[in-house]
């Protein structure tokens, strides 16, 4: 941007017909008559960050690079492979682009443009990889997903050689839901309590707890599984069950929830809490009535993102749940399975139908994670105390009613019995104001409160 200004500035500021007075060193104020000859409109300068010339250069060098690589591949060199083609043409593209830019620009500008292209392609690769993962999984999972039995049957009657019209993953869906429910039932209260402790009672002990929790957020999930396996199954002698798997998921999920909830709670404005304390509320009342409701959307997001992580983990479940092909509704007795674990067992099979089922299961799992993620985005994304559209509308209505009531009192209309409710109803419906308007609208419009 700035280099463009540097290089193009003289031509843009001083078109041919305007001669700046070079001889006098005074400040030169451009005369309106001098700048634009009568009849000619002044050309508006573009402030766009994308330059047309760069785009043209880029397209040109890309076309040239692909052509050159094709020639190298098919006629000149003994090369093969699609990925190699892409890599070599990209390299040639960079070189050509640099040469093309260097015709018009200096070395510093060439470097800037080249690095800009390189950084954008790195970002593009990462996004491409994500889309490739998602689309490939859905693409190969389509075959089993087309059959209804995939969602309403378990695998108890379907061996590895059965066609896709038999057997399904109901047991895995149910298992996942049961496990995550138990895990959430433990980790939501405990996690929120700990997060409240960290944010409301700061001190040496709280910072110690915070350090431990931070270190544990990236606890390898298999270690969480191994811990439950060591304690519950080896040490205490219980059988593998859905409950053990939920405990393993809890151990993995808890630090994640605590950390993000702690961050959200620390964002609650201090003046709200101080106002509550000034009104005489205790710490407990302040937390319950001010801090938690203010941070509600952020806390929900924290919990949902933790849930998405917990649902997707395979290794804790692998060690503790024990795989099964039967639908098991009792988390305390008998083995259970979950969606990722079922995916894992399916794709280990050499049978193609089983692999297809594995992709179908993975697609179901992805849909579940995507739903949770979309939910988190819809609820979250708002800071502490920011209102949703609905809440804002309610608040606007309430404040309009209040305003109406005050003005009735001012004008002495309160004596008319039952008038208040009728008036507020009329205001709510937006049927004209029977009262003279004030100079400054006390009612906040939605536009005002949003900013």
């Amino acid at each position: 941007m700035s280099t463009t200004e540097q290089t193009e500035a003289p031509t843009a500021l001083a078109p041919a017909h305007v001669a700046p007075p070079v001889s006098s060193p005074r400040t030169w104020i451009r005369d309106a008559a001098m700048a634009t000859p009568p009849g000619a409109a002044e050309a508006r300068r573009s402030t766009a960050t994308v330059r047309t010339v760069d785009v043209i250069r880029m397209l040109g060098s890309a076309a040239a690079a692909v052509g050159l690589t094709a020639w190298l591949y098919f006629f000149a060199l003994p090369l093969q492979g699609q990925l190699g083609f892409v890599l070599i043409s990209y390299l040639i593209f960079l070189i050509l682009f640099a040469i093309l830019t260097s015709f018009d620009e200096n070395r510093i500008t060439v470097k800037d443009r080249l690095i800009a292209v390189f950084i954008q392609s790195l970002a593009f690769i990462l996004l491409l990889a994500l889309f490739s993962v998602v689309i490939y999984t859905f693409g190969r999972g389509l075959a089993p997903l087309g059959n209804l039995n995939f969602f309403i049957e378990d695998m108890s009657n379907a061996g590895p050689l059965e066609p896709l019209t038999q057997g399904g993953v109901l047991h895995a869906v149910v298992g996942t839901l049961i496990m995550i429910t138990i895990a959430l039932a433990i980790s939501i209260p405990l996690g929120l309590l700990t997060a409240v402790f960290l944010s409301e009672f700061p001190g040496r002990y709280a910072s110690f707890v915070r350090t431990i929790v931070e270190a544990m957020t990236a606890l390898p999930s298999i270690v969480a599984g191994l811990f439950i396996y060591a304690t519950l199954i080896v040490f205490l002698g219980f059988n593998r069950s859905g409950f053990a798997a939920s405990l393993a998921i809890t151990v993995m999920m808890l630090p994640i929830i605590i950390r993000s909830a702690d961050v959200v709670l620390r964002l609650v404005p201090g003046n709200l809490k101080e106002a509550s304390r000034a009104l005489g509320a205790s710490t407990w009342r302040t937390v319950w009535n001010v801090t938690l409701p203010t941070a509600r959307s952020g806390l929900t997001t924290a919990i949902i993102l933790g849930t998405a992580r917990g649902i997707g983990e395979t290794s804790p479940v692998l060690l503790t749940a024990g795989a099964t092909t039967f639908l098991n509704l009792n988390p305390f007795n008998g083995p259970m399975t979950s969606l990722p674990l079922t995916t894992f067992t399916f794709v280990k099979s050499p049978e193609l139908t089983m692999v297809a089922r594995g992709f179908g299961t993975a697609a179901v799992l992805m849909v579940l994670v995507l739903i949770l993620f979309a939910l988190a985005r819809a609820i979250g994304g708002r800071g502490a105390g920011q209102l949703s559209v609905r809440q804002q509308r309610a608040r606007t209505r309430q404040s309009r009613d209040d305003d109406y009531r005050y003005r009735r009192r001012e004008l002495g209309l309160d004596r008319n019995g039952g008038g208040a409710s009728r008036g507020s109803l009329r205001a709510r419906l937006g049927i004209g104001h029977p009262l003279p308007p004030r100079e400054s609208p006390a009612t906040p419009t939605r536009k005002d409160t949003k900013s």
Binding site: T49, K111, A123, V234, T283, L319
Partner: protein, 374 residues
């Protein structure tokens, strides 16, 4: 109040000009002046007599509040207990195996606990090879994405990009594993072959058992390698690394950015001289955090590699291993002693990731607090 105003006005009349009929503001100021006079006089006499005592500030905590305090503290204690139990139990259960193996636990490559000959040298080295391969792919990808989102992307799509990168971090690891096995492996083998053919003077790219001059040599020797596992793990850790870097980059002070641009810097010049030095802590911390994730990744690695129990520094060659894959592979039909050995291996992994994460979070916190003080 009324009495003091009267005396004030009288005194004002006596001392000053005759403006007794003043508005309220002036009488107020006069009144405060006399009030100060009245207070200061006795104070100068009283000071040497009685010493000033600091007021005792005490706050009484009522019973529900005290209960709340204890419950919250209890919640924190439970969490810390569970978290430290993870380490303690692994140490307790692995102690038996560690006692048998002794120091050879760190140097022995094979894994055969029932004959007493076992160690984590091979799996530990394998874990690090996979993690380092992953980081060497993830670091440029994450850095590029973070810079693109914070510096280059149009404002309209910026939020969408952030969401997509966050979503990428939420995709289950088993899905990445599937993609790696069924999509990436077949497509990446020609690249591996090319690397080993033309770059085999670099030791890590050398492949045993592949004759580059033999046109019939089977490319299957390149399947299930550290390289492929590393790329898949890189895709899994790049989002978290990237989002930490982006967070730090966007905090780079706007004044210095604009200053650099105003001095005539190109965009890259600005990034190199303002954003990157400022975000160094975020880059290092994010990368360390990614390394911690990469060390602990299980299922994707387990699906891709074919386990070997020798130190395999040739990353393109078939056969790799990691501690987490070892646990997932062997826990099932293990004897009691084997379980103990696996616990010891898990303990090693736990301690390594703990140290890496601890360093990472310290660096990240420091880089953030530095940005706030500016």
């Amino acid at each position: 109040m009324a009495a003091s105003v009267e005396t004030g006005s009288v005194e004002a009349g006596a001392v000053e000009t005759g403006t007794v009929e003043t508005d309220s503001v002036e009488t107020d100021s006069v009144e405060t002046g006399t009030a100060i006079l009245e207070v200061t006089e006795p104070m100068t006499e009283a000071l040497p007599v009685a010493e000033d005592k600091p007021r005792k500030l005490s706050s009484k905590i009522d019973r529900p509040d005290a209960a709340f305090r204890w419950i919250a503290r209890g919640g924190g204690t439970i969490v810390v207990t569970v978290m430290s139990l993870v380490g303690l139990f692994l140490a307790y259960q692995g102690f038996q195996a560690l006692q048998v193996a002794g120091p050879s636990f760190l140097t022995e490559q094979s894994w055969d606990p029932n004959s007493g000959k076992f160690g984590i040298a091979a799996v530990l080295a394998g874990t690090f090879f996979i993690a380092l391969t992953a980081i060497s792919f993830a670091l440029p990808l994450a850095l590029g994405t973070a810079l693109y989102i914070s510096e280059y992307a149009p404002a309209k799509i910026r939020n969408g990009l952030v969401t997509i990168v966050d979503l990428m971090a939420a995709v289950p690891s088993v899905v990445y594993g599937l993609w790696g096995v069924f999509f990436l492996s077949p497509n990446i083998i020609p690249v591996s072959q090319w690397l080993s053919t033309y770059l085999n003077w670099i030791p890590v790219f050398r492949v045993n058992g592949f004759d580059t001059n033999d046109p019939l040599a089977s490319p299957t020797v390149f399947a299930a390698s550290t390289f492929i596992a590393g790329i898949v793990v890189a895709l899994m850790v790049a989002p978290i690394t990237s989002s930490i870097m982006r967070e730090v980059f966007t905090q780079a002070p706007i004044g210095e950015r604009e200053g650099a641009l105003a001095l005539g810097a190109t965009r890259w010049g600005m990034i190199r001289n303002v954003v990157l030095p400022f975000g160094r802590g975020g880059i290092i911390g994010g990368t360390m955090l990614g390394l911690g994730r990469a060390l602990g990744e299980t299922i994707a690695v387990f699906l891709i590699i074919s386990p070997v129990f020798v130190i395999q520094p040739h990353i393109l060659e078939k056969g790799a291993n990691s501690i987490s894959a070892l646990i997932a592979l062997r826990y099932n039909e293990a004897s009691v002693f084997e379980i103990s050995a696996l616990m010891a291996a898990g303990l090693a992994l736990f301690l390594i990731t703990l140290v890496v994460n601890f360093i990472a979070s310290t660096i990240i916190v420091r880089s953030r607090s530095g940005s706030q003080s500016d």
